[in-house]
Symmetry: D2
Subunit: 396 residues, 4 copies
């Protein structure tokens, strides 16, 4: 029989019915005025979700990876220097992209499970007297390890060093789910995709450029056409697009922003924290540990849970799918086989989180790990019971 179980991968998320419908619309003429009536509110909505007044938003038929390429190819030239920490699969990939584009990357190798070492960044930036470093790359939420980095601290490092480098932030698995403040944190380019906090199908790279980032565009020499924001900007100015726009996804983005802003973006963050906290209480009740080294690093959109040392966890995710038709995230890169991940972002309820915890608990027991059935569920239930009323009172 067909399974109707929700998914618990760290994106793409479960999609609200309203957003699936907003995406699945009949063909309209994208050269008619109708398109502008969809596009511009979507761009404005994204600005509010990002908490920016000054940035310009550009939306491409692509993915977060395309968003990264948009960021670097529109602002940099071959040989330019950038600074980045490598503390997980996605920071690794962004570094790799820079190297393929012939950028000169200063890499701060950082243990997987740790966040961006802002103090080390400050040292490096302070030492860069000639201000050769053009850009600092920061992955806000490492999806592979469930680690949230402190972007405000990275900004403070730049400021303390008196360094003019641009700050580019990969917010793919944080934006729309976890506290993000583009203007307050001085983010110059923010990058995300449609399939995480926006709860849409994959297919959009969503980027925002600060005025300072915009100022870098003309002098950038990396070749780009598809991802050229100048074409995108001139298209938007005439209610158009430089090529055929993904109208349905943009319409979905518009509706998604409406949903998030109607709930209140800070309420959305609080909801994710509340649900994530229940998952974490379950993990602790199991006697297990998160990949994230310390509580302040815990991600509210995904938890990477460490198997006991020496245990081979590679079968976990396929077992959960085969036996219970529930999708969890597998370990990636350095932590392959060492962790499994529960995605808890997007459209999710505490009831759905309890489903995930129940099934994970069964799988752990199935694999002969010393986990007591019902223990994680009970810990999460206690948390959800105590906070459900508060959440309702706050919302009222």
């Amino acid at each position: 029989m067909i399974s109707q179980n929700p998914v618990f991968i760290p994106g793409p998320t479960n999609m609200p019915e309203a957003l699936r419908r907003a995406v699945d619309i009949p063909t309209i003429d994208h050269r008619s005025a109708e398109f502008g009536r969809i596009l511009h509110p979507a761009l404005e909505g994204v600005k509010k979700v990002l908490k920016t007044k000054d940035a310009q938003v550009f939306v491409f038929p692509s993915t977060g990876t395309g968003g990264w390429e948009t960021a670097i190819s529109n602002t940099l030239s071959a040989g330019d220097k950038v600074l980045a920490a490598r503390n997980g699969m996605f920071s690794h990939r962004w570094i790799d992209m820079c190297q393929r584009h012939n950028l000169d990357v200063t890499i701060v190798e950082t243990p997987w499970g740790e966040g961006i070492p802002a103090d080390r960044f400050e040292e490096i930036l302070s030492a860069d007297k000639g201000h050769e470093i053009r850009v600092v790359l920061a992955t806000h939420n490492e999806t592979a390890t469930g680690v949230k980095s402190d972007i405000a601290a990275v900004r403070r490092a730049l400021d303390a060093a008196g360094h003019p480098a641009l700050l580019f932030v990969d917010g793919v698995s944080s934006i729309g789910s976890m506290d993000f403040r583009m203007d307050e944190w001085g983010v110059d380019i923010a990058v995300t995709g449609s399939q995480k906090g926006f709860m849409l199908p994959p297919g959009l790279a969503i980027t925002a450029f600060s005025p300072k980032a915009m100022a870098a565009v003309e002098s950038a020499r990396l070749p780009r056409t598809f991802f050229d924001i100048r074409d995108m900007a001139s298209g938007y100015a005439r209610n158009g697009y430089p090529y055929t726009p993904p109208v349905g996804l943009i319409n979905g983005l518009n509706e998604s922003c409406k949903l998030l802003l109607a709930e209140g973006i800070d309420n959305v963050f609080a909801r994710h924290r509340r649900i994530a906290e229940g998952v974490r209480k379950a993990v602790h009740a199991w006697g297990m540990e998160l990949c994230a080294a310390r509580p302040e690093l815990y991600s509210d959109s995904v938890s990477a849970i460490k198997f006991p040392a020496g245990f081979d966890g590679n079968r976990f995710v396929s077992h959960a799918m085969d036996q219970y038709q529930v999708a969890f995230g597998t370990g990636l890169g350095e932590v392959a086989g060492k962790v499994f991940r529960i995605g808890h972002l997007g459209s999710l309820t505490d009831a759905m989180a309890l489903l995930a915890i129940s099934v994970a608990e069964m799988c752990l027991a199935d694999m002969d790990l010393p986990v007591q059935l019902g223990s994680g569920v009970a810990a999460a239930q206690e948390h959800y019971r105590q906070t459900a009323g508060a959440a309702l009172r706050k919302a009222a």
Copy 2:
């Protein structure tokens, strides 16, 4: 934020995406040949689900209640005698309908929580030497109490009494979910709706008439037009319908039968039993009892769970909805305030059942009942773990 939680009312059920799509089709010309290509396979599919070779199936834009009216108005005349047990809300309503149609109902009052007393039926039928009783009504699964009656035993009672009465069975909440054998049990009219075992939206009354029931149609004097199966039969014979057919729902019924028969109808029953058994183990772990008096009466499509004596359970269902956005069934009629119900029929997985159990557990604790968090979940998990593999092995 929008809830995406499944529902756990005893119907309408959660609907598989494939069936929602089968129902939601563009307008076709219902007088064209296309309609026949949808209708006839649906009728044939229903016959297989009912395990009948001989019966004729008639499908009305209506509900189970309309199916009951179809049964009686096509076979009986004012003053005719029928025999029925009243052991729950739905048997009560059918009796009430008969009385409104001026039938003479012999009512066997039966405690709510008990099944049809086949032995008492046998006594009454044996005593009816003149064979004045024209029809025996039997509610296979009392949705209000979660009680399954033994239809084979009712048939045996008729046979033991050598009585020619017709046997009409309300299978609204059993057919498609629980063992049902129209021909083997000698059922003369079976009645169900689209929104239970068939996992469709409400809107169809589905009935099947044995040859013996068909033989009673011409002499029946109760007035009927909308529910007249003679018009329906002559419509079907020319690939048509006596009025505008609900094409989408009939297309959905066709697809639903395909899904059920592809899984294997006995596998469908086993799946419901397996999921129901997990729910029952949770109930017992909570120290609570089912409304159904004995294990052989336990329904596999709905569990009615008794609150402790003196406890006012009227708030339970609204609390679950307000606090956790999960829908359970409330108590009806005699057991209002005394039970709550978990529907576990239709498109359901063990993971979804664990969601229901987790949330019910929180609600019980919220209402200060002495239920240990995680206890019911653990009991169900143990059952699902042990049987998940078996289910998979069987399916393979």
Copy 3:
């Protein structure tokens, strides 16, 4: 290849995407407060579409035929007298239903193509000194012949005769498409279905009872349970329903009323008239005639077009489907083989009407009728061109 052609049967109509989505919703708990929030606005919306302040609306999972049965079974008893004209298939069927329910029908046989003879009604009613006639039945729009009757004239006949009979109107193919005024015309029961002017899938009988009709309910002796409006009324009073409600269709009805009322119900009527007039101009350009005898009888929801005398038109509809994948309506009853019908109700544009006219024109030519290609299209184009601007100016 799949056809995406619209249909031109006189109902079910082409459905707007927004209404298909309103119908196709996930399962909700119909015993929760949510259902009331869907039901009551739908009932209020129907009242506005019907232009009634005083009537009570009842909506059944059924069809227009079920609506007729609701009307008679809730107000009449076996042997009661009713008056009706037979001037087409649908008035014929309603009369037949009355006879099956043992009512005593005075039938005014009327040529197909003519409307209800209000003057003849006045004579009969005036002659009924004892006021034995309890109900006058009137089919507002004969779908089989494309004939609109004058309901205001029927009311005047009743009033002129000083007769207290109830006036029941079948508005299945007029309500929501053509001028209908329940209170002004003194209609006591109005009946329609979901699949015509409301542009929904079939599956709802929609009825409205005036206070005078409500007063007749208690004394009515015809048996009814499924269609008993007393159960329906008491269900509505507690935000419920007497059995499982077709939640999706009722939600669709709510949205449909919103669409119709947002456009302005009189604008909806004008739109239908404008589109119908284009079709009629095409018919005249072809040198053909409508089944409706005179212009004041022309229906704005369906045109029945007469083939030349002696021509066998039975193949027309299947030819259009086989050759061009377009659905027209066939002739029914007395006019089978003598007419074909173009349905032009519901969600339709002048562009879509031109598609229908173009294809009908090809079919007529294919069948060697002396119709000049392009002639009907040109006549309709001229009409649509001249009125499109006016329609826009009015709407602005």
Copy 4:
């Protein structure tokens, strides 16, 4: 009221319901085996549509423009020479992209309305004794002018010159609608998008690389990451993707190929030709001319129709939308204001084409052009009537 009119822009096309549903699916785990079961049949299907055995297909979340960038960035290095004709907006844009990527483009300026001058190509290639030209770019169907170029002739030019350059073909508005033979014509890279012949929403760049093109990948020095086919190929090899795949669109692509191949790809081409021919007959009946200079250049997916000299046609498209809610294509670039376009590709019937012709005819008359109402329709009707039977006979 809501319009349900189809669109007649030259893509995105009207989408079959089945394909919208194939795209709009719930979230699945794209790292599970399920994804491979969607991806690989889609890739195989595209190969069949392209008529290639040897090429490798790569599908990106992007558009046709991204497909062009995939082609050049994976095979070329800054300074490389390419040869192209500029005969419309889309060939112009591809040339522009090459220049932005620092390629050295030999441009054969060609009148808009003409096809690629294969003889001129042959001269240039023959003169390139050192074989410095690495790639010949060819736009198969110029969407802006409705001009089809002869790709086989370009191949012959290469062969006649004995030149080893790669042949890249933009088939965005031809593939899946018009005769295309990747292997037979020796095409090295074919590029298209999801929103034209595949009848899907926009959002996919679909590319195919011949073995000879694959051989050029390693030595190419243009930077690329998002569009790097090496990452894509290694992803496919493990049933994966280098980033989050647009699962719904890929599922849609799979279903689209199934639809096209079930109809027979040559039957699909014939259907487009038949419908296009009707449009062209209407144009000639209006006394107007196509932008395409000669019949052998006529595109079967889009017709660009020239306004009389001196007439300002800029209002045409907005007039059609405002007055009749029908979308046509506007003139682009050099032919802006001088032509309007009727897109006739994708999911289209002759009935729908007649709708387009009828409405275009009204608009021309509204703008006081000397077009007789019904004249174009009649010419198209005559063509469709005569060929409808043949089409059916062939299909049977």
